[in-house]
């Protein structure tokens, strides 16, 4: 007689202990059957992903750029997704990596801003505070082996000072006058450094836009998970401006003369 009610009415596994002679505690289905028996399911890989985010320091503050694609593997699944998100009045965060994790981050940061606003204590969170908070969340989630699968840029401008920093799924943080995530770190960062390093205080908004467009274009040419539509954000003394998504101009005329690219004539 099997005294374990959880086994009653279930098919007996004849491949294992066909004569019911095996000691009871060692029988199949007799171990604890809680939700965690087979391990908690955690984010083990990103599913719907965004690619690079770019950011630079310029004369008036911070400029950030990201294309609008959210990919599902190699499928260009959502083609008009905003990956730049304002947090409070002084900060913009930009995300690469898992977009559902990013939406969760947007949600709890928005709640944080509301909580801080409700306090009405004469203080509000600047970019440095938001970056610190976000870093602690990202680090604690990695320490629980349950990471938020993103690399994020935090850009901001408050009290006459610009702020630009990075944080990722491991809780790694750093700050520099130009930052790029994902493929941008390989393709755009060298271009950004060449154009920006040492010129942070003189670079105009027009020049910054031109540099960003160049980088976004290079990424579109070479990063297969990118799209020719992007958004730009500026954070300056005037506040946050996030420009509606717009297309990047591309040129493919070079292809005509190359066998294998253009129409084949022979």
């Amino acid at each position: 007689m099997d005294h374990f009610p959880t086994n009653w009415g279930r098919p007996r596994n004849d491949a294992y202990d066909p004569y019911g002679t095996f000691p009871l505690p060692h029988r199949p289905n007799n171990h604890a059957k809680d939700t965690f028996a087979e391990g908690v399911q955690r984010t083990q890989q990103p599913i719907v992903t965004g690619t690079s985010v770019l950011a630079l320091k310029y004369k008036d503050g911070i400029m950030m750029a990201a294309d609008t694609l959210a990919s599902y593997g190699s499928l260009a699944r959502f083609k008009d997704v905003t990956r730049l998100h304002p947090v409070g009045n002084y900060t913009v965060i930009g995300a690469g990596g898992d977009m559902s994790d990013f939406q969760y981050i947007q949600k709890f940061l928005d709640e944080l801003i509301i909580d801080e606003f409700t306090a009405q204590d004469g203080h509000d969170l600047g970019p440095a505070q938001i970056h610190e908070y976000l870093s602690q969340v990202m680090y604690s989630r990695r320490s629980k082996i349950n990471p938020l699968w993103n690399s994020l840029l935090v850009g901001g401008f408050k009290d006459g000072k610009s702020f630009l920093a990075y944080v990722d799924l491991l809780g790694t943080t750093y700050s520099a006058s130009t930052l790029a995530t994902g493929y941008g770190a390989y393709l755009a960062q060298p271009l950004l450094r060449k154009e920006v390093e040492g010129k942070e205080d003189t670079l105009t908004a027009e020049e910054a836009v031109r540099i960003m467009e160049t980088c976004i274009r290079v990424l579109y040419y070479r990063d297969a998970r990118s799209i020719d539509k992007y958004q730009l954000a500026t954070i300056t003394a005037e506040g946050i401006k996030i420009i509606d998504s717009r297309p990047i101009s591309t040129s493919w005329s070079f292809a005509e003369g190359i066998r294998g690219y253009g129409a084949q004539t022979q």
Binding site: A15, H31, T172, A176, Y186
Partner: protein, 256 residues
């Protein structure tokens, strides 16, 4: 009959997420008779990418203790944050700064408490002991530690430590007849050795470069202050001249 154990105990699958990375860079500390020098480069990298050219790895804890951390940067920053919190609690409880040998033991217990999910960080603690001597304590990621005269850690440890063994401990050298090697070197000599160590490590190791931060801790009324007089790019971090004094020397390293 099939293998009973594999059927009976379905184990959770191994997860692929790796919670660690390695962020390069090198740190180094040398103890003198009445001073201590703690240095680190400022490059932070991952693989072949330079993440930033300025991410400090050396931190002033008190007026007589400086901590250098190297390895996984996120763990390093969190560890320094927690050590500083414990030192603040100590200051509020006892109205004085924790002595360096107590900080060293504190770091050991903090590291070992994470024995089975370690902080992936190599620590070097430098400063002034209560008897006024220069001290260097070095740790492994799980808390084994010892007091030494000099130690290098990090990406270029294997390049720098043998150089230090030769120049500080005079290993593989024989003194001229009738003479002996000094037990401690003067501050200007130590500073030159530190700068040379880092310029050489920068030449031969891709993860080392960009900037150099050298912290100098002097004991009370130390005559070694003379050795800092003509040093380029030195800033004092302590407010008063009547206790231990902390200085930092910032230098550029090659950026390629």
């Amino acid at each position: 009959m099939p293998d009973m154990h594999s059927l009976a105990q379905a184990q959770p699958q191994q997860q692929s997420f790796n919670p660690y990375t390695e962020n390069g860079g090198t740190i180094l500390a040398i103890a003198g008779a009445d001073f201590s020098v703690i240095a680190g480069d400022t490059r932070q990298s991952e693989g072949y990418n330079i993440q930033t050219r300025y991410a400090p790895k050396v931190f002033r804890l008190t007026d007589k203790a400086v901590l250098a951390v190297n390895g996984f940067a996120a763990d390093g920053n969190m560890f320094v944050k927690k050590v500083r919190q414990r030192l603040e609690w100590y200051r509020h409880a006892h109205a004085k700064d924790m002595p360096i040998r107590a900080i060293a033991r504190l770091i050991q217990t903090m590291l070992y408490s994470r024995r089975f999910f370690p902080y992936y960080v190599y620590n070097i603690l430098g400063g002034i002991e209560e008897d006024g001597t220069g001290a260097v304590y070095s740790f492994d990621p799980v808390g084994s530690y010892e007091r030494e005269a000099c130690r290098a850690a990090g990406a270029a440890q294997s390049l720098v430590q043998p150089f230090l063994d030769n120049q500080i401990y005079f290993k593989n050298q024989t003194p001229a007849p009738g003479t002996s090697f000094p037990r401690h070197l003067p501050l200007p000599t130590v500073l030159s050795l530190v700068i040379d160590s880092f310029t050489s490590a920068t030449e031969r190791h891709i993860e080392v470069g960009d900037g150099l931060e050298i912290y100098v801790v002097l004991s009370k009324n130390s005559p070694s202050i003379q050795g800092l007089r003509d040093v380029r790019g030195v800033t004092e971090l302590t407010a008063t001249e009547d206790g231990e004094r902390v200085f930092v020397v910032r230098r550029e390293l090659k950026k390629d």
